[in-house]
Symmetry: C2
Subunit: 730 residues, 2 copies
């Protein structure tokens, strides 16, 4: 730490001395790169498509009257207008550089002059809410994006402008914004958070463009220029050593944009900083850990506040893909991403990627395998585990979340899991409750139901104790604790396994979840095994929720449907948003089968006598129809120590159009806990075709070499290491 400070001080000293007037453009593309792209057009399809797309967008903007309206409400017309303006200016700058066509330069100049007329008269946005206000936009965040893009556009026409126009724009636009960010909102600027990243990126870029190294240094090291804030500190603290981003995949695709835009500008203007090497190539790790979490269709798993459809075509990922390919090596997996993205950025890196893509006959789907990420900047705060079997659309993917809370966008969902199978998020995460950018829906902002439902534990696939959300739904408390890794082994061909704990989420209750993906030739598809173990000193009510989509097909127990009147399931912690559709009680291994897409899914779970079952559906206490209507099943048991031992079986096939249905009932018939204690858990699974599996899991200190011996019900079980799975029990 001290060593690093010294290094930083040295760098600051070394660089502040040299006030370099940058070449223009030099943030993202140079004249030489533009020439190379110009020469390459017509050769590489993905480059051509990207160029055409950009040109169509900008030409359409040029064809319409230019509008620089007074600030308006979030998600409203003016808000959108200013967003479109910065996108169009940035793209016009690149097109001007590539084509030399002055209409693009004139467009940027004219628009900036309109902004120059307006900016000095703006103050804090009148509709700012809790967050730091912008001037054009209700929140400063949007304004930092505006400046990031506009700096790049300005960079591209800098040499083309005359001196007096430059002076006008710099005084009446850029200096006003710089003052706003640095003077008035330095707290936001120095914040270790994605808002801070955008802030430092935008100021760093405009600093380079204006040749103002002072601004660049503040961007790199914080307003105090001591390394307590700024870009490097963010690289230190916002990612785990594996590159996992603390807010999760949805936010990282947004955060990666300023990280890469600024990194690329640093690389080009201060190569001696070796930014791409910083923190053991943390930018590479950040990029890979983002894309390695994605479902096979390129969509980011919607953990924490996240939309359910954000995918790798997001601009930050398209940007990162080319830069990572260029700076860290030509990985074929990145070409697999480009196959989904169908787009490259227009600079040297994008050209390189497009060329490599065109030169290969057959681009395989990206294959990320099974992987675990540690969480927390020190890598000591739990993690995220992903098990995969199969490739492409046939892949079965199981994700478990056991890391940090993730601050303001975090959900109270420790030990929550998602099952993705055959192209669908079969056991889903609800995602955020927000109709993003849809102005009539509360300005497109987060909705009240995001707090009251989407963040609550019951909205996830993890146990709720006493119908209360983890950490009592207190974010500050949740940010102080983290899940704990127990063990992870994704290396087996037929068995992949992960186990984690969450002990600080309910007073006096310790939780451990062990999840497996198992392949058995007698089964059609990989099977999920789930062992959720709770230990407590007192008795509690444990709710085991499973969210699903599609249609209930059958159960092996009777239930009573609420046919003419429906009530909410509970009063708080998200339960108030669930309609009670039906209830049941059962004493025997339960089986619950539903249909999703072309496949059937069955939950088979061992139950205690008189286990209660609730069939729920979201939508209660939703006065403005903000929630989606989605089904779930909740299995409720009163107990002190408890093991929920479950199998999630994928089976059969249904196609309505061809009217085919096969194996709608599935094979697994029984799950039993043979024994469980603080040392180990042993369960068995039975099914048709003489399926008889036994799973032994080590619950105490993880070790690959530990000799485990446990005795349950008179039988002794022995194994070495963290687990033993026998798929052919005699």
């Amino acid at each position: 730490m001290t060593k690093k400070r010294i290094l930083i001080s040295f760098i600051i000293f070394a660089l502040s001395a040299t006030l370099m007037a940058a070449d223009h453009p030099s943030m993202f593309i140079t004249k030489e790169e533009a020439q190379a792209i110009n020469n390459a057009l017509g050769k590489y399809p993905i480059l051509d498509q990207s160029f055409e797309k950009m040109k169509n967008m900008v030409d359409a903007a040029l064809a319409k009257p230019m509008e620089v309206p007074q600030p308006g409400e979030a998600g409203g017309y003016e808000h959108e207008r200013h967003k479109q303006n910065y996108r169009a200016m940035q793209a016009a700058g690149i097109l001007f550089t590539i084509t030399g066509d002055e209409k693009y330069a004139a467009f940027i100049r004219d628009m900036l002059l309109k902004y120059a007329d307006m900016y000095p008269n703006l103050g804090p946005h009148p509709m700012a809410k809790k967050q730091a206000p912008g001037m054009l936009f209700h929140q400063m965040l949007n304004e930092t994006v505006w400046l990031t893009y506009t700096s790049q556009a300005y960079d591209c026409i800098y040499d083309w402008l005359d001196q007096s126009t430059r002076e006008n724009i710099e005084e009446n636009v850029f200096q006003v914004i710089i003052d706003w960010f640095i003077e008035r909102n330095h707290h936001e600027f120095d914040r270790i958070h994605n808002h801070g990243t955008w802030s430092v990126c935008s100021i760093g870029l405009i600093g380079y463009v204006l040749g103002n190294q002072d601004l660049v240094d503040m961007a790199l090291y914080g307003t105090k220029k001591d390394g307590s804030g700024g870009f490097l500190k963010q690289l230190d603290l916002l990612f785990s050593p594996d590159g996992y981003y603390m807010e999760g995949p949805y936010y990282v695709r947004y955060a990666l944009r300023p990280f890469f835009h600024f990194a690329e500008a640093i690389h080009r203007n201060q190569p001696e900083l070796k930014i791409y090497e910083y923190r053991d190539q943390i930018l590479k790790k950040a990029y890979y850990s983002a894309v390695q979490t994605t479902f096979p269709n390129g969509v980011f798993p919607p953990i924490n506040d996240a939309s359910r459809t954000m995918d790798i075509r997001a601009p930050g990922i398209v940007l990162g893909n080319a830069l990572v390919f260029d700076h860290y090596g030509a990985d074929v997996n990145l070409l697999g991403l480009a196959k989904i993205q169908k787009e490259v950025v227009l600079n040297r890196s994008g050209l390189k990627l497009a060329r490599a893509y065109a030169e290969r006959d057959n681009i395989p789907d990206s294959d990320w395998g099974s992987i675990e990420f540690t969480d927390g900047h020190d890598g000591e705060q739990g993690g995220l585990g992903i098990l995969r079997m199969g490739t492409g659309e046939d892949q079965t993917m199981l994700l478990m979340k056991y890391g940090v809370h993730g601050e303001g966008h975090g959900h109270f969902d420790k030990l929550h899991f998602i099952l993705y199978d055959h192209g669908n998020e079969v056991i889903p995460d609800y995602g955020f409750c927000r109709w993003i950018n849809i102005e009539p829906k509360f300005g497109g902002r987060y909705l009240p139901e995001n707090d009251s439902y989407a963040k609550q534990t019951i909205a996830h696939n993890t146990v709720v104790v006493d119908r209360i959300t983890q950490n009592k739904s207190n974010r500050k408390r949740a940010d102080k604790v983290a899940g704990k890794r127990h063990f992870f082994d994704g290396s087996g061909e037929n068995v992949k396994i992960m186990s984690a704990r969450a002990d600080d989420y309910y007073p006096g209750v310790k939780m451990q979840r062990t999840m497996l993906l198992v392949k058995d030739d007698r089964m059609e598809y990989p099977t999920v095994i789930d062992i959720y173990r709770l230990e407590s000193e007192e008795s509690h009510t444990y709710d085991f929720p499973v969210h699903f989509r599609g249609q209930l097909i059958t159960t092996n127990f009777d239930y009573q449907t609420n046919v003419s009147v429906q009530k909410q399931v509970g009063d708080d912690f998200g339960y108030q948003h669930i309609w009670e559709e039906a209830t049941a009680s059962t004493d025997e291994t339960l089986k619950f089968t539903w249909l999703d897409g072309h496949h059937y899914y069955s939950l088979v779970q061992e139950v205690s006598p008189e286990t209660e079952i609730i069939f729920g559906r979201t939508g209660a206490n939703d006065p403005n129809f903000n929630l989606r209507s989605e089904p779930m099943i909740i299995i409720r048991d009163d107990a002190q120590d408890k093991v929920f031992a479950s199998v999630f079986e994928v089976h059969g096939y249904f196609d309505e159009a061809s009217e085919k249905s096969m194996n709608a009932r599935g094979s697994i018939t029984d799950v039993n806990v043979i024994g469980s204690n603080a040392e180990a858990t042993v369960i068995e699974v039975m099914g048709n075709d003489d399926i008889y599996w036994r799973i032994c899991v080590n619950n105490a200190g993880a070790s690959d070499s530990k000799e485990n011996v446990v005795k349950f019900g008179g039988e002794t079980f022995k194994w070495t290491g963290n687990y033993k799975v026998d798929l052919n029990v005699e």
Copy 2:
């Protein structure tokens, strides 16, 4: 009629005399055609794909142990097994003919010998319900399909078999089935219904194969051989003169299969019957009218009992496409269908289609334009109107239903409409309530909720009077009446219109619905205008339901949501299946906006003071979770005469992945009825950008030349013909 009888008698006489032993095979493919296909393999991709698909299917069947199980329950394993068996046998027959590989012939022989062991010991299926029983299957229908396919398979190996094997199979399989159909179930055989078509097709085919002209004649003219039943009678009565099939598109795709299989066998074995010319080329019309109803993605509109996903890849449509292309001319629109189907049948016709497809560089999307079909065998029982603007995925398609009830599979839905836009069924038909072939869902059969909800008027987008279903939900009564065509004009570029009546559906209430598709350059997309006029001698409660999908975005009126308790909306006629989510009352033009896919949709409707509004969702009184959970809005007014004047506007764009939202509120602000009486209705529509439209509709006798003069509120409106639409009112 008399003339036709004489003709038929003559034909019977002429043909029964000649007992021809058919060449083998001759039902569907000959040795010469097989040779031509063999030579063509590797040349035409769609032929190769079809051959490969068939070969993979059969080779997979050959690789498994052969199973001919005892009969089982509908949708169960044995049921599916026998279906797979006949599919595999038919395909094996074609493969044997094409490749000469005897393993395929041996497969058919061995399987038929297993059936020969079993059939004589079978009686009526033990689990038969209301319908005529089969022996292998719970209903005879499935057995007729079995025989249709198996006859073709047998045809292909007939010459290859030795005499004693033939005798065994014919005595112990075919003769048993023939007796069952002809002797025991002649009522089903002679029925003018798709079950009857399958029956006569199967008997006709086996008749030809066995050289038994007596059977063929019964298939053609009914068991009495007098033309009172049989294939020709079915061609006379089951289609309107336009070729529209009385049960609707979902059933026609099933019915077309036996129609074409038998027609092709007749054509090949009794060409003198000129079957493809019969009834002014009714088979051509039947095929075209089926595919012309489809949505741009090839899915059949789910009117009446229908699944929501049945599309033109159904086997009967793939079969018809090649035969129609071959016998009626090489229409490029049929190549457009082949683009979606990606498959041809393997005979001369399929080869021809595949060759034509391969020879064309660019296959355009099929373009069906706007079209009206008359309904009833005489074409005098109303019809089905379809208006279209745009092509391919951008198409807006409006369908209105005003024909016959359609017997047992008909829904009580006169004047119901469907809006398909941008690739989605935006204002949908619920379709049937059935999880087809999913055995745990009531054997995959129709569910009780099909009668109690899906067939009821409230499940559709048409007015419900006094909360009672049309014709009091009495099918026999509904079969006696029909909608009435008023006028249809799909020829205009900017205005397309259709108008129809339903006067016999509620005692004392006359209904007329006029629907338009309108294109105005100030609007982003085509707009739907809807004028639903009710005349009555007494006051009634009129419910105007609109079913939608996706998410409610905004309304211009306040509503009260039932937040913690939800009740069913009504007690019967389908209302018992609707949860009341919210209620409202409004005095002013209502606007209701929702999101579906990438677009926003707004209903704008003039309302009377104190109009009630109910937000509903299906799912109440659904003890077994048989219904899908889907939203609707019901606008309720008490009145004597009433005009519901509405606009359905398509607007804006939303993409969650790219977080873009535009124009979520739409342009249309007002709809007013200027005046309405038995002569005419005049309405006006207002919106942003000075949109001011006036629509004048003739309500009395339709005529293109009639001079209309009406006076409403002191203003006189004049126009010639059925309507006048002015999109630029001064």
